[in-house]
């Protein structure tokens, strides 16, 4: 059959794809950091906080882990303006992804918190550690090691998830790919190159994360 792959038509657009990839990475990192903050707080509350507060966090987690992320961002982008809150494309996507990540990371970290050994906690209590000190000196170092692999996995998932930002007018990698596709009509070539860039992006991220994990927490992460 006569389809000839013509990557030559795509190369001039490569800088635009790389710009898009850079933007995707920025969104992923920012949303992940924000989500980690929310998640740590949420997990701490769920494990040690008062019951009523823990229930609120529980409701938040249930809501955000049981609705599609795309729908959540749609709500932030198109429904909030009717209530007088106008978020820019970038902010709406970032906020949506952060809240979503926060919910998942709460659950992931709670599981990690609960994995710390009862005897260690009791020992620290006997030694007169306050709750905060327990978290800081006993739970966190232990938990970081257990949690590192699932957390870095979630980061990879989020990096790929940034592709939905295109729906809201953020010109990240997928958005740029769609634009180039509509100009060149070289769909196979455009999306092959785009997929390649995503692979490179996540590969670099996992290598960096694994290196960091080994250095900081002595966590053993499998590469690839």
């Amino acid at each position: 059959m006569g389809y000839v792959l013509q990557y030559g038509q795509i190369w001039p657009y490569l800088p635009r794809l790389l710009d898009g990839a850079w933007l995707a990475l920025q969104i992923a990192v920012l949303a992940f950091c924000g989500g980690l903050l929310i998640g740590t707080l949420g997990a701490a509350i769920k494990s040690f906080g008062p019951r009523w507060l823990s229930m609120i966090v529980g409701a938040y987690v249930t809501f955000f882990t049981n609705t599609p992320q795309l729908v959540q961002i749609f709500f932030l982008y198109f429904a909030l303006p009717d209530a007088g809150i106008l978020l820019s494309s970038f902010n709406a996507v970032l906020l949506g992804m952060t809240l979503n990540a926060g919910a998942y990371l709460t659950e992931i970290q709670r599981a990690g918190f609960e994995s710390s050994r009862r005897s260690e906690l009791e020992a620290s209590e006997v030694l007169g550690f306050s709750r905060l000190q327990q978290i800081r000196y006993v739970i966190l170092p232990h938990v970081a090691q257990v949690l590192f692999p699932p957390l870095s996995n979630h980061f990879i998932i989020m990096t790929l998830g940034t592709s939905m930002a295109a729906v809201f007018g953020v010109e990240e990698l997928t958005g740029q790919a769609l634009n180039i596709n509509s100009m060149t009509f070289r769909s196979i070539e455009v999306f092959t190159v785009t997929a390649g860039i995503y692979v490179v992006l996540t590969l670099i991220a996992s290598v960096l994360l694994a290196a960091f994990g080994r250095f900081a927490f002595r966590a053993r992460t499998k590469l690839i």
């Binding site: 059959m1 389809y3 198109f78 303006p81 106008l86 494309s89 295109a166 007018g169 769609l178 634009n179």
Partner: protein, 269 residues
């Protein structure tokens, strides 16, 4: 997978080749004696053509064609066409004429003939009250943000002619118009005639269509090259549609507003 694709492609190509094969459009006499005129309508272009609740194709094009069939004294057969196959359908005589925003242009006119214009399409600027722009050339400024549909033709126009303006690309027309209504952008450049339905959905927004159009397209009925008799008759029919006010009436019914740039009717054609 590749093999399947190749096979599928081969079948598609063969099918396509067959539609193009021995081309013979029907003459006016043949249409009349058969008692049926076959008209191509594209159901993906509401309100020109769309499917109703009963899965029937309805719209401005169907009403227009119905009236023409009545004038000719034959029955109407609506044939569903899509953008890529509508011209091959006319050329091969599968249909007698095609509608569906057939903008006449020199490239198309090499392959098929066009009747006098049935309606226009105005590529214009949709904005909101309070925006003081009088024409598109004033909008080449960094403080202007166009909200456009990703992959639509006007995006290219903006990239080439309004380099300084910003563009926010959304997925589809409802999203883009909603974003504009919510104040996410200054304006939108697109075919304004299709906007009536969308504007209607945001009644609280004070819409404004900039009066100097970016461009006007004339859409006629597409007929095969070798069916002159039919084309001549259709020209008279289309003229009558305009003269009797039928076109304007149907346009208002389906588009919810008057044709932005009415066809200037001339008795000479």
């Amino acid at each position: 997978m590749l093999k399947k694709l190749a096979l599928f492609g081969a079948i598609a190509l063969t099918a396509f080749a067959t539609t193009l094969a021995p081309a013979s459009a029907r003459t006016l006499d043949e249409v009349i004696s058969s008692g049926t005129i076959r008209v191509g309508v594209n159901p993906t272009l509401p309100p020109l053509g769309k499917f109703d609740e009963k899965n029937q194709i309805v719209g401005f094009d169907v009403d227009f064609a119905t009236e023409i069939a009545k004038m000719l004294g034959v029955k109407l057969e609506v044939v569903q066409v899509g953008s890529p196959d509508r011209i091959p359908f006319v050329v091969s005589g599968k249909i007698d004429f095609v509608m569906g925003a057939m903008t006449r242009n020199p490239e198309r006119a090499k392959v098929i003939d066009f009747t006098v214009p049935a309606h226009t399409e105005v590529l214009g600027i949709l904005t909101t009250e309070g925006q003081e722009y009088k024409e598109w050339k004033e909008m080449d400024k960094p403080e202007v943000t166009f909200v456009q549909v990703r992959g639509s033709t006007p995006v290219k126009f903006i990239e080439e002619n309004l380099k300084n303006a910003k563009v926010t690309l959304l997925d589809n027309y409802p999203d883009a118009v909603r974003a504009l209504a919510q104040g996410r952008g200054t304006a939108m450049i697109d075919v304004m005639d299709f906007m009536g339905e969308h504007m209607e959905k945001h009644r609280n927004t004070k819409w404004k269509i900039v009066e100097t159009p970016v461009d006007v397209y004339y859409c006629g009925l597409g007929v095969a090259k070798n069916s002159t008799g039919l084309k001549d008759w259709l020209n008279v029919a289309v003229f009558e549609m305009h003269r009797r006010g039928k076109t304007a009436e149907m346009w208002k019914k389906w588009f919810g507003m008057d044709m932005i740039e009415p066809v200037q009717v001339s008795p000479y054609f």
